[in-house]
């Protein structure tokens, strides 16, 4: 049986798709068969971030409607054999997702995969609801600023009351906090909430802190999940987050301002 992980936030633009791509790639690199699904029907992006946009034939909605079978729609990643992408439809809207249809697809996927990563659309409406409904685990992606934290909090409330686990009175969804676009310099200046502030407000286990990094934008533009950029701080932070998700006990990195060395100061770097 696969474990279904929803990557969600409430607020848009906080890094859900980047996180979905990175976590899915990280899990697959560690040998777990992983499928990542784009639930953002109508605004599909995951295929771009994953660099498979030119290989999309059938999509999630085709599978739900029975116009294609799951194996026709899944796109195997060229960099990692254990990773498959199920892209969203760009021509439909989120009403095309039905509870039964999504449940059927997830059930079918869970036969052949260890992890199913669901990339949720922003908002708390139908699309986001469909993405989280069947989840076992939830990664709540939050930026260190008040509106994002509040939206995440709202989403956590929905996770604990509107999921299938909640409806069936099963053990609740395991919730993890992933803080993205973190900038220790701006925290020091008081322009951003600190890790501890966010942690205290949301009272959640911290899966990882991803530093604000140019590597993320570069990775998105080139269609390479940032976790593959092992030189970058963001890539390493995502790698740590995957390790923590799988139960490793890793210290959090990149929380403090980088001390500039003598040479970099001299050279103005």
């Amino acid at each position: 049986m696969a474990r279904t992980i929803v990557i969600t936030s409430g607020k848009g633009g906080v890094g859900k798709t980047t996180t979905s791509a990175a976590l899915a790639m990280g899990l697959a690199q560690r040998g777990h068969r992983t499928a990542v699904i784009d639930f953002d029907v109508g605004l599909r992006n995951l295929d771009l971030i994953m660099g498979c946009e030119r290989r999309v034939v059938y999509d999630f909605v085709n599978v739900i409607n029975g116009e294609a079978n799951i194996n026709q729609a899944l796109i195997r990643d060229k960099r990692c054999d254990a990773l498959y992408v199920l892209p969203a439809s760009q021509t439909r809207d989120k009403d095309a997702l039905t509870k039964e249809g999504v449940g059927r697809v997830l059930e079918e996927l869970s036969k052949g995969f260890d992890y199913i990563v669901c990339d949720s659309p922003a908002g708390i409406e139908h699309g986001a609801h469909m993405a989280m409904y069947y989840a076992d685990d939830a990664v709540v992606v939050t930026n260190p600023e008040v509106s994002s934290v509040r939206d995440s909090d709202r989403m956590l409330g929905i996770l604990s009351s509107k999921s299938r686990r909640a409806e069936r009175n099963e053990p609740p969804i395991r919730e993890y906090l992933l803080l993205t676009r973190y900038s220790p310099e701006r925290v020091a200046k008081g322009e951003m909430l600190s890790v501890n502030d966010v942690r205290e407000i949301l009272s959640l286990d911290l899966l990882g802190v991803i530093p604000e990094s140019k590597a993320v934008l570069n990775a998105s533009n080139s269609g390479v999940p940032v976790i593959l950029d092992v030189e970058s701080d963001a890539g390493q932070a995502y790698s740590d987050a995957v390790g923590r998700y799988l139960g490793e006990d890793l210290p959090h990195r990149f929380l403090d301002i980088k001390k500039k060395g003598f040479f970099s100061r001299l050279l103005g770097g």
């Binding site: 909090d153 956590l156 929905i158 407000i201």
Partner: protein, 284 residues
């Protein structure tokens, strides 16, 4: 004479956070499900035992809105009657209401004697534990929850009225629902109501979350959302809070918003209670 009241069909209270009621039948193919549901019913609050004047005035009301009362289940509230008002002619009253198309289903707020008389007429006795028999409430009983007076410090421009939880039931029996315990964080957008009793939360309460209780509210964690105690007008209800950062606090409708809470009581353990008309926040 008329106001709305909620009461549960079962002595149960559901919300997404609460556990589901256990099904009554455990056979392979159940023939029915046992569920709790909430209905809003009109309540006729008797202020007189003289059936002639009741008949007169009720007739007037029904004439105004005949469809409203047609086949409508109605609850008779006796809590507004003055002490020693005499016997109520239940057969007359029931006949009168049926004549107007209403379906009297039960009474509340009566004495034991009145309850017996009502039961003889096959009227249900509904929870009356939280209806106060006080002469001061006789004149203006239009709202079960008194509209909040502004906090004494200054008039607030936007009168945020703590909603009397329209879809939430009133407990029928204080022994059944006198306590509610929440152990997980109450998130933004969630509402938790403890009908007929106290609410204890041993987790943080986020901005945008709402706690409501007919009795006291205890929060063993930071309170960043709203807390409203004494929802049914119990002025002796209190809020106890370990770390006050609330958006709004209220006891029996008297409220303060964050702006009107002094800084020195923020972030420390406090109790909040009514002193006359003044909502006090005190360190403990």
């Amino acid at each position: 004479m008329l106001f709305q009241a909620n009461f549960p069909e079962l002595k149960d209270y559901l919300d997404p956070m609460a556990s589901h009621p256990t099904s009554g039948v455990d056979s392979p193919k159940p023939a029915f499900e046992l569920k709790a549901a909430t209905f809003t019913l009109p309540v006729i609050r008797l202020l007189e035992v003289d059936m002639d004047s009741v008949a007169d005035q009720l007739g007037g009301k029904v004439d105004q809105a005949p469809d409203f009362f047609r086949n409508t289940p109605v609850v008779i509230d006796l809590s507004g009657l003055p002490a020693g008002a005499g016997r109520i002619e239940f057969p007359l009253l029931v006949g009168l209401m049926r004549g107007f198309g209403m379906i009297p289903v039960g009474i509340r707020g009566g004495t034991d004697e009145q309850h017996e008389a009502a039961q003889a007429m096959e009227l249900a006795i509904l929870g009356d534990a939280f209806v106060r028999r006080s002469p001061t409430t006789r004149e203006a009983p239009r709202q079960p929850t008194p509209a909040p007076a502004a906090a004494s410090t200054r008039p607030t421009p936007t009168p945020v009225r703590p909603t009397p939880a329209p879809a939430r039931p009133v407990a029928e029996d204080p022994a059944v629902a006198s306590q509610r315990l929440i152990t997980r964080p109450v998130r933004s957008g969630q509402r938790v109501y403890a009908p007929g009793g106290d609410l204890s939360v041993i987790a943080p309460v986020s901005n945008g979350a709402e706690l409501m209780a007919d009795g006291n509210i205890h929060i063993y964690g930071p309170l960043r959302g709203r807390a409203m105690a004494g929802m049914k007008g119990d002025t002796s209800a209190r809020i106890f809070c370990q770390d006050l950062q609330a958006e709004l606090i209220s006891v029996a409708g008297h409220y303060r918003i964050s702006e009107n809470i002094p800084d020195e009581v923020k972030g420390v353990p406090v109790q909040i209670f009514l002193d006359g008309d003044v909502l006090r926040v005190e360190k403990i």
